[in-house]
């Protein structure tokens, strides 16, 4: 007991954090698990109904549709959002003019700071058929205005595009930081061996980016499963079928329809998937070894 007394101040210092996490992270997690096994009632006691909520979710065709949407939109963001910034970073690294390099970095980073309401507002207006810049340009070239946000075929690509637009600069700068950190002796050695610039990129630069790639991949992977605000903000009734994702389903079922048992069961699929994916990713990427 004495040893605890000695460290009393330290325990006091961490107490608020401990209380916060217990109350607003672990307790909701446990409570959520409980609710997912209950028939939720606004008034009165909730009764346990076993796996009924999970069965309801799995037999709901809407759930399967939003799952496919999540995988397609998330997969698109993951694939392009992972590789495109690498391309931009390498491309920027080739630029010799420092002022151009700095300016480009500065500009492409900017959208990362904006909320989805702002990005939704900017792009919905840009692509709107009446007065939107993109359609004004199409008209100048003699084309017909396109109703981008109300056509199903554009819906998913638009979500992927805006997600990339927001984060490409941020991710690119992470890679650039890694590129700048590469030891010049590696290049010198390659020069002596008569390597071309392309060989240098292929065999020195890219391998040196692997640790950063691991971080970015894991960040993106966990991010795409829980996308909510982007979709919630940019969806509209005509494209909802195409873009609604798991978290939108949870929100609608739980908060709007008050079917909290089913909503929570649906969200636990995301929690289980996150846990499993993190464990697999850590194993596969041998995340703990370096970085």
């Amino acid at each position: 007991m004495n040893i605890f007394k000695k460290h009393m101040t330290l325990y006091l210092m961490i107490a608020p954090v401990a209380i916060y996490f217990l109350l607003f992270a672990y307790y909701p997690l446990a409570r959520g698990l409980m609710i997912s096994f209950q028939e939720f009632r606004i008034i009165g006691d909730n009764t346990y109904i076993g796996l009924q909520n999970y069965i309801t979710v799995l037999s709901d065709p809407v759930f399967w549709r939003v799952l496919v949407n999540t995988l397609l939109i998330g997969g698109g963001i993951l694939l392009i959002g992972f590789s495109f910034p690498i391309l931009v970073a390498i491309s920027l690294n080739e630029v010799l003019k420092v002022s151009f390099k700095k300016f480009t970095q500065m500009v492409i980073y900017l959208p990362h700071l904006f909320s989805w309401v702002i990005i939704g507002g900017i792009w919905i207006y840009l692509l709107s058929p009446d007065g939107g810049l993109v359609n004004e340009i199409i008209k100048v070239f003699g084309g017909e205005p396109i109703h981008f946000f109300t056509q199903e075929k554009y819906a998913k690509p638009l979500m992927v595009f805006t997600a990339i637009w927001k984060d490409v600069g941020f991710l690119c700068i992470l890679y650039l930081a890694a590129i700048v950190g590469i030891s010049p002796t590696l290049y010198e050695a390659a020069k002596i061996d008569g390597a071309t610039r392309w060989q240098e990129i292929r065999h020195i630069l890219i391998p040196q980016l692997y640790p950063t790639m691991k971080v970015v991949f894991l960040l993106n992977l966990l991010g795409v499963l829980k996308i909510f605000d982007q979709i919630f903000i940019m969806r509209n009734p005509t494209i909802a079928r195409e873009v609604d994702v798991l978290m939108v389903y949870t929100y609608e079922k739980g908060i709007l329809e008050f079917d909290m048992g089913v909503a929570t069961a649906a969200s636990f699929f995301v929690i289980f998937a996150t846990l499993i994916l993190t464990l697999i990713a850590r194993k596969l990427l041998r995340f703990d070894e370096e970085a």
Binding site: F21, F114, W116, I173, L222, T274
Partner: protein, 288 residues
């Protein structure tokens, strides 16, 4: 330019194409922003006329006045400032306290606390929105700005990041202060915090931006329109394409003015943000 002459023809072609590619990329970022700025500065009537608008030709603050005064954007803006400033302050304070505790040697239960904090980073926040809503309801926090301050009051990421910063500070310095009779609070505030300024700046900026942009918690917890925060208020003002009744028609200049007002504080802190964000995310993602 001397280098240019030494380059092979192939590399010259590549270099030019590369620059073109980057210019196009910059254009996709900068043109939408210029368009937003230009439209926000046009009059109600001009903003509804067609045409390509990327350079302001007239300056009218009609849109700004409408959204700020007539549509009362000042109130959600004020709420947002309140929640962001108070929330960020406590977030940084609590993260620093926890980060400090987690570098102490020989503290019983330290490993357990560390694991519990790290584990929270694996809980996807959005996925527990229903139980979080219920917890807030049970605590009587629904419809209060306090619920938004409390949401994300501390995060595993920030604790870890500050802990990593503190670890690089010499432990002997703290030990000698302890010999002189300084307690843990004194050591943290007088020795560690001043030496970890870049770390504090990183966490502060991260938190400021994410709180300024916070959307989902406000959507869940706030119903009362006098307590709306900026993102929630703006969503109904600038994205209300379903407002078909002509009396509520909001002209593009008003919408774009709303966007400009919301991003202004972010632009102001931007020069600092860029510098610290990269360092921060790399440090935060590093394990022990």
């Amino acid at each position: 330019m001397q280098k240019w002459k030494q380059w092979s023809k192939k590399y010259k072609t590549f270099y030019v194409l590369n620059i073109v590619f980057l210019i196009l990329l910059v254009a996709t970022m900068i043109v939408p922003l210029l368009n937003t700025l230009t439209v926000s500065l046009s009059s109600n009537i001009a903003s509804m006329q067609s045409g390509i608008k990327i350079i302001p030709t007239e300056i009218s603050f009609e849109g700004y006045v409408t959204i700020w005064q007539k549509m009362n954007l000042w109130l959600p803006f004020y709420n947002n400032v309140l929640v962001t400033v108070i929330g960020t302050f406590f977030h940084v304070l609590l993260s620093a306290l926890a980060g400090y505790v987690l570098i102490q040697k020989g503290l019983p239960g330290k490993r357990l606390m560390m694991s519990l904090i790290l584990l929270t980073m694996m809980i996807p926040g959005e996925a527990i929105m229903i139980p979080l809503y219920i917890v807030n309801k049970d605590l009587g926090l629904l419809n209060t700005l306090a619920s938004l301050v409390i949401h994300g009051l501390v995060s595993g990421f920030s604790v870890l990041l500050l802990r990593n910063f503190f670890m690089n500070i010499s432990y002997e310095l703290a030990e000698s202060a302890r010999m002189d009779g300084a307690n843990d609070f004194k050591i943290l505030f007088n020795i560690y915090l001043p030496l970890a300024k870049p770390g504090l700046a990183t966490v502060t900026l991260f938190e400021f931006v994410s709180r300024w942009n916070q959307f989902t918690p406000a959507l869940l917890y706030i119903n009362d329109s006098t307590k709306y925060t900026l993102q929630i208020a703006l969503r109904s003002m600038i994205l209300s394409n379903d407002a078909t009744s002509s009396s509520d028609f909001i002209t593009p200049n008003v919408r774009m003015a709303g966007i400009m007002i919301a991003i202004l504080p972010l632009i102001v802190i931007y020069p600092f943000a860029q510098k610290y964000f990269v360092k921060g995310i790399m440090l935060g993602s590093t394990k022990e």
